[in-house]
Symmetry: C2
Subunit: 391 residues, 2 copies
């Protein structure tokens, strides 16, 4: 196990009606002038935004609003948020929504205290400080509610890039599984896929003898396989929603990823798809993962066989372990199809003729250096081959 540090000081309030305590938590964590940051429609329609406002008012907290966050959140709104924070002397950002609202809030929180362009943080500059952030999540997916990470797309060039920094961890996160019951089935499935991807990206390690984190990752994958189909069948299944919500946070707060190399190839390759076609991140991952895993399988057949046996319930083929490894990848593919995810470029709305461009941007776009991957180092040719497996 590699040396590591782990620090996850987010306060989680989990369960029914917890959103009504938003004001109490903003106050506890030092906020007085709040920016409520959200997407749009459903947060307003469901009455959630009103409940949150009433909760802030009950604590005599001043607030302004900035809605309009889009999936794959954009730099344009981040600049607008930064200006607003400065103009209104905001000291606390409350994100209400999914990973996009949270990641956009994190970018604003860091940018508001920085004299330069916030995009510097997404090109490698370390985030040293940020305004305090709280979140109320409405979808189980990104895990951003318990993580130090943020992903934003720069409109100029459509670069989708990530940053990380301890200052970006939310002070508190409110998790009411009921709030996810009104999600369209497709979005629920995208969230399930994203969580599974966060687990695979940590599972695909080159570090040896990391049984504890292997087992924890497998536990969370098994949870997703067990609970995912339940919510697809019955969107009102609170218990299944609750299990998925806690699993989604645990999958990405990194307690199961410490002390081991991680991969993030599927995310890097997917980001080009959602940046170019504006598809849902989870849907992109559903198409990308089986392709990446099939391509990389030979690098460590036993690791894929382990997932196949322990997670997907495959029988171990002791004479030909690669058959078991492949069976596990196929089981993942079939699972994703069963919950309604796309299986190829066509279903995703991606185009074969863009492959060279996609692979080039993934490897050389922006600050990239020609290769990607923490499990297997891939060059542009490899990435092109992987995209071709998705056609």
């Amino acid at each position: 196990m590699d040396n590591f540090t782990f620090y996850a000081p987010t306060y989680f309030a989990f369960g029914k009606e917890t959103e009504n305590e938003a004001g109490k938590y903003v106050k506890r964590f030092g906020g007085s002038r709040v920016l409520i940051h959200y997407g749009g429609g459903s947060v307003i329609r469901s009455g959630l935004l009103d409940r949150v406002k009433r909760s802030l008012e009950a604590e005599q907290l001043a607030y302004v609003e900035l809605g309009g966050v889009k999936p794959n959140p954009r730099s344009g709104l981040v600049y607008k948020g930064i200006d607003l924070c400065r103009k209104e002397n905001i000291d606390f950002i409350l994100a209400v929504g999914g990973g996009s609202a949270i990641d956009s809030a994190k970018a604003i929180a860091a940018g508001a205290l920085y004299s330069g362009d916030f995009w510097d943080y997404y090109e490698g500059k370390a985030v040293e400080e940020a305004l305090a952030i709280g979140t109320i999540i409405t979808i189980s997916a990104a895990g951003s509610e318990g993580s130090a990470d943020s992903v934003v797309t720069k409109e100029e060039g459509m670069f989708k890039r990530a940053t990380t920094g301890e200052a970006l961890r939310p002070k508190f996160t409110i998790m009411n599984p009921s709030l996810t019951q009104t999600l369209p089935a497709y979005q629920t499935a995208c969230g399930i896929t994203d969580i599974i991807a966060h687990l695979y990206e940590r599972y695909l390690t080159n570090t040896k003898e990391v049984e504890v984190t292997d087992r924890m990752i497998e536990a969370l994958m098994l949870t997703m396989i067990h609970e995912g189909p339940k919510v697809m069948e019955d969107p009102d299944n609170y218990e299944a929603r609750a299990n998925i919500m806690w699993a989604g946070m645990m999958a990405h707060n990194n307690s199961c990823g410490v002390g081991r190399t991680q991969d993030w190839t599927s995310h890097d390759i997917e980001h080009e798809l959602s940046a170019l076609y504006d598809c849902a991140h989870g849907a992109g991952l559903a198409v990308v993962m089986p392709a990446v895993f099939s391509y990389n399988m030979k690098h460590n057949v036993m690791r894929f066989a382990q997932a196949a046996v322990r997670v997907w319930g495959c029988q171990m083929d002791f004479e030909q372990p690669e058959k078991t490894a492949l069976a596990g990848i196929e089981a993942l593919r079939q699972f994703l199809i069963s919950i309604g995810m796309p299986k190829n470029f066509h279903e995703l709305g991606a185009k074969k003729e863009d492959i060279e461009k996609l692979a080039h941007t993934a490897c050389y776009g922006d600050v990239n250096t020609g290769t990607l991957g923490g499990f297997v180092t891939l060059n542009q040719k490899d990435v092109e081959n992987i995209y071709r497996l998705m056609v």
Copy 2:
């Protein structure tokens, strides 16, 4: 899943030589005048205490020492520590050792800021504030390094009681698996047993549909079964020590125990044994757990069958699930014997003739109210029956 809150803001520094950063972390978390609190022999002999002092000196931090913590830490030393903190204006307590040193440090930390008797906190008074605490652990066992809990024995009456409070969570914990390599085999095995007990106490729930925490608990149990025998065979196996150390913390920081009722029967019944005979807590648990589980099994056969199949690799008997449930308990018993733990009263040094007294103290001693148990409610007669199963 029940509503819950979860907050675990401890900073973990994990890996080789991390103890040399103790001073840096004390400073980062606001300490200036430090009480170093520890047991005795090995911490001094191994040179660990000297390295810690040098690390504090490198940061110009003043310190005083209080050694002499015994296993099953006593109230007498706590009072001494409280006096010392007041006299020396201590603002940070650094515990170096196992659960006993940490739990004693937590009692001192709370008592130093309280005008009454610190024991009030162990009789039900809520802990509201405490001096800041940091820990350097030398055994994987108690999980106190990442928890809000403390267990102390009051010498007058030999009551062993627990308290919990968010102020008791360590600000930082240094985890260097190498530091556990010099432990006697018996202590290593006691630690493994304690970790397994923390997992079972959370597993035995009456809350339905808590797949995510079930799976996480099972993952950590599987880790202990996989890695435990490795360190028993080769005490210098760093990787196995590392896996056990992270599992031990995760087993007790409560991320796998949220939103569900828990049990703690085995702990309550064991505490009377270690209070009366001063046996090692882990050794007591090894004798107690199989007895408690056999006694309580009929309350929920399927829960024990689930553990048997998923954790212990037993075949499910679909016609007679109780056979599977029993096989799982027997597998646990054999595992504990295989790592050198005692299996009955005699091997533990406990006496049959004390059973009535033990059961009476467990049920009525101090502030107890006549029954115990979060899974099955047990009265004094039940507890006597359980002790008899251990003879």
